[in-house]
Amino acid sequence: MNRQRQDDHDIILAVRDLVVEHDGGDGRTVHAVSGISFDIRRGETLGLVGESGCGKTSAARAVMQLPRPTRGSVHLEGMNLAALPRKDLRPLRAKFQMIFQDPIASLNPRRRVRDIVGGPLAVQGELGTEEKNRRIAEVLSDVGLNAEQTMERLPHEFSGGQCQRISLARAIILEPKLLICDEPVSALDVSVQAQILNLLEEMKARHALTMLFISHDLAVVKHISDRVAVMYLGKLCELAPAEELYRHPGHPYTAALLAAVPAPDPKRPLGRIDMVAGELPSPTDPPSGCRFRTRCPHAQPLCAEQEPKAGEVSPGHTIACHFPLSG
């Protein structure tokens, strides 16, 4: 990761040693994210996968500075967001936007679609009413909604998929550079999920977006991402180009995750999940050394003593494991 790249100027988001900790009550600290680093290049989609409780949502919100991370830096186009004072951060927010998992809770039930989608314009812009309305209509039809029919409605009059389109319209109305998607399709039915995934790809192309896409669904992540990062208990296990990661998983956890995906194909043999049965350790008291060692079938004494450093096994493929799988 330290290797200086020539295309440094093309890195739109650089996250270094991001740490998110919060008070878990009882005086214990929850280590939600424990030092993760990654870059996202312009026009690229980085997928972030992991099971519930791995800290992927905390990481996404820390990038958004909602709330700010406990430690670490988040450079957006060279500007460290984590160190900016509040008032300087506020105008910059137009550059990075987010959509959320819950399509219903994402929209204020008491405000009309016009006001919801136009909200960012009211906060950030100085457009006149007419210009504003034109933009709102434009962006609504961009996400596949009939602007005339939707503008004056309240969110409860829409289905989950439509709500997610409205959220997306709100997120892109300011033409952000970076869009963070936190499980945007997890609450949707399969057929609607496909619509929204296609829409995201379209929007990405049309608005030159760079995306950080978070999901627990490996198939969905592969579909939309150029590169994929796997997270377990607050740490990055593995990061690689999508095709490479799915074909040659190097971290035992990645391999187990992939084996567990049920394929909609009875001919495909059921994968054997190579993972020690047991529970996800508590993020208030993570294991020493490698965090996955308590469930890793290949764990050695070294794994408990020393935390594995992320190492590059092939160009762009880094694995944080003392004994990565080969082949």
Binding site: E51, S52, S159, G161, D189, V190, S191, V192, Q193, A194, Q195, L197, N198, E201, H216, D217, L218, A219, V220, K222, H223, I224, S225, D226, A242, E243, Y246, A256, L257, L258, A259, A260, V261, P262, A263, P264, D265, P266, K267, R268, L270, G271, I273, M275, A277, E279, L280
Partner: protein, 330 residues
Amino acid sequence: MAMPLLQVIDQRTYFETGRGLLRAVDGVDFELHQGRTLGVVGESGCGKTVLARSIMGLLPSNTRVGEGSRIIFDGRDLGALDEKSLRALRGSEIAMIFQDPMTSLNPVLTVGKQIGETLIRHHGLSRHAARGRAVELLRDVGIPQPEVRVDQYPHQLSGGMRQRVAIAIALSCQPRLLIADEPTTALDVTVQADILDLLRRQQIERDMSMILITHDMGVVAGRSDEVAVMYAGRIVEWAETPELFRNTRMPYTAALLNSIPRVDDPPHRRIDAIAGRPPDLIHPPKGCLFAPRCGHVEQRCRRHSPPLQLASDGTHAQACWFPQSVGTTP
């Protein structure tokens, strides 16, 4: 062939709502034989959960069940049984597992008590014997340290463990039919595989019949003998599992399969999404309910509703006027 364990005949379950009668399940027929697993697949609102609850007889008070609807379990017409006999059947011969293990276990009762009360109720065990049996059951479903866990409360267990407890409850009285309603939807993918394997293993070991309800084609693909696809309150396609995936006939099933992203696909492949939404079940359109979204729609589809037709070889049925015999993804 022997008599089926379960026969569902023209099941119609309607709900009275503020806007009118909602046809949640609208004419479902199927049979299930001893020792077989039927996967019921469909998107939310297709009526799969209502179908399960109709079989269990667990329906809210605003329910209207159709005149000709029959559910025959082991030769007994459940609709004709009184509430007392139904209660004796539930939990002992037909058992059920719910979607969310966080909410389906009582937070104020110990795990052992929740397993044991079924045994006390149906098998007349003493408290002591029930507790002993609960420990055995916990061991059977793969819970470590069952002697300790038996006295714990649900909140002390993880999601996967709770679902194992729910399975232990369901298995406690050796049911002949197990209905699992989205048993892994609320769980992580690695836990999901364990739970599905456990269910399949228990089903085979105990020679139970099982109805596995899910929205995930991947879940039924490897773990069922036959699959019924539901859409808008009806079964639109039924077949033996390999047959259904190999030789999909109903356009909805094909479209559903095509809209699933797969780990084998290359990144950024455009998915063939199904346009539109499922129909309003209070004012359903005329004809085939999938017609407004179907890519192969003809005039006839919009006028007349197709019945579920069994092919001559008896292994495949579809409710479609123009069945396609194309496979899905090559």
